[in-house]
């Protein structure tokens, strides 16, 4: 579950993450300047072709990633259907779908590690003015490490509550879950300190 990258290898995987992100910024900015339905329709076909060029299953994966946008498409269709301003509605829908599809393309073809490397690269100037970025890297690692732990703990607390009560437990797991986070944070912080701390200076 912990990935949005496509299972297939595509030619886009070979382009460096930094270049893809830069290209995405430029293209997305340009996209919001386009006010012609014809141009947007052509671009839509181009994006579909781009996805299909990497195989049908890749394109299907991409289509699934766009699916959460359907309520907004529906709203725009209804709104512009009532105001009889179909062309403007079409522009809004296509522009949104193209922008999201292109951004998804970058997410689907870039490993999380590469994305984090770009992020750390962007933070590097902080090192020059004497602020260490090491705690940031450690925080990211701890965060990713604790996501499955906390999900599992949530499930355990939920099971414990259900064993004692027939009522719904939904919201009642939040207090014990948060308290366990606060307590465990203390232990993890002590463990880190015992192993030399988070390293605020270059020697770490």
């Amino acid at each position: 579950m912990l990935t949005l990258t496509a299972p297939q290898k595509t030619i886009f995987h070979k382009i460096s993450a930094g270049r893809k992100l830069l290209a995405l910024c430029v293209v997305s900015t340009a996209l919001f300047q386009i006010e012609s339905l014809t141009v947007l329709a052509c671009l839509t076909f181009a994006v579909i072709a781009l996805y299909l060029s990497q195989g049908l299953s890749f394109a299907k994966f991409g289509a699934r990633m766009l699916w959460p946008l359907w309520p907004f498409v529906l709203i725009i269709v209804l709104y512009h259907g009532i105001t009889h301003d179909i062309a403007a509605g079409g522009e809004i829908i296509l522009r949104m779908l193209i922008a999201v599809a292109l951004a998804n393309l970058v997410t689907m073809t870039t490993a999380l590690n590469d994305m984090i490397d770009v992020l750390m690269g962007l933070l590097r100037p902080l090192n020059w003015i004497g602020i260490s970025t090491k705690p940031v890297a450690l925080t990211i690692a701890l965060f990713i490490r604790f996501i499955p732990t906390l999900i599992e703990r949530g499930i355990t607390i939920n099971a414990a509550l259900r064993a004692r009560s027939t009522g719904k437990s939904g919201w009642r797991i939040i207090v014990p879950l948060t308290l366990s986070v606060l307590n465990e944070a203390e232990h993890v912080a002590n463990a880190l300190r015992a192993r030399g701390g988070v390293g605020t200076n270059e020697e770490g």
């Binding site: 946008l69 709203i75 925080t139 948060t178 308290l179």
Partner: protein, 180 residues
């Protein structure tokens, strides 16, 4: 230093875990998840700076490609979609919640209500509505109309956040850093 680092990482993970708490549907069919409750708790428990940092960490990693948002959403597409303002609003909401929490001199329950309302509703919906108005090319009023149904769910979360924060404060007052 170690304590702050770990708390920021773990509360970011808590926001992620709360996104998976089964959806709770209001009487008229609006689904609400506990995810933005996690954002509010970052503020009321950790305070402005640490809480804001935790929500920022969560958002940055969701954008980098972890499917952490409720419903398994994530990735850069979030920045081009209609919910962009709410995504950007998460760290702002946590920071404002913490900022207000640190300043309101009332009991924990009342302070948490006020803080999570100011942060988790006002400070979240301002960028949220602006983002939606821009992407869908609608007026601010129309954009607010689209999300107004969710305000009710978020008001429920404000109430829950207040009681959860009070319960934590009663159990371990020294852990509520916004009050330390």
């Amino acid at each position: 230093m170690e304590r702050s680092t770990v708390l920021i990482a773990m509360f970011a993970a808590l926001i992620a875990a709360l996104g998976l708490v089964p959806k709770f549907t209001l009487a008229f069919g609006v689904p609400i998840t506990a995810q933005s409750l996690g954002v509010m708790l970052c503020g009321t428990v950790l305070g402005a700076k640490r809480g804001g940092a935790a929500a920022l960490l969560f958002v940055v990693l969701a954008l980098a490609g972890l499917p952490l948002l409720a419903g398994g959403r994530g990735g850069l597409g979030l920045l081009s979609g209609p919910s962009v303002g709410f995504i950007i609003g998460f760290p702002i909401a946590a920071f404002v919640t913490g900022w207000v929490m640190e300043r309101v001199q009332s009991n924990v329950l009342t302070s948490s209500f006020i803080a999570s309302f100011m942060g988790g509703v006002i400070a979240l919906y301002i960028p949220g509505v602006i983002g939606m108005a821009l992407i869908l090319d609608k007026s601010l009023v129309a954009a607010f109309g689209l999300v107004s149904a969710f305000v009710i769910g978020d008001l429920v979360k404000v109430v829950i956040c207040g009681f959860v924060t009070r319960a934590i404060y009663r159990a371990q007052p020294d852990k509520v850093l916004s009050r330390a």
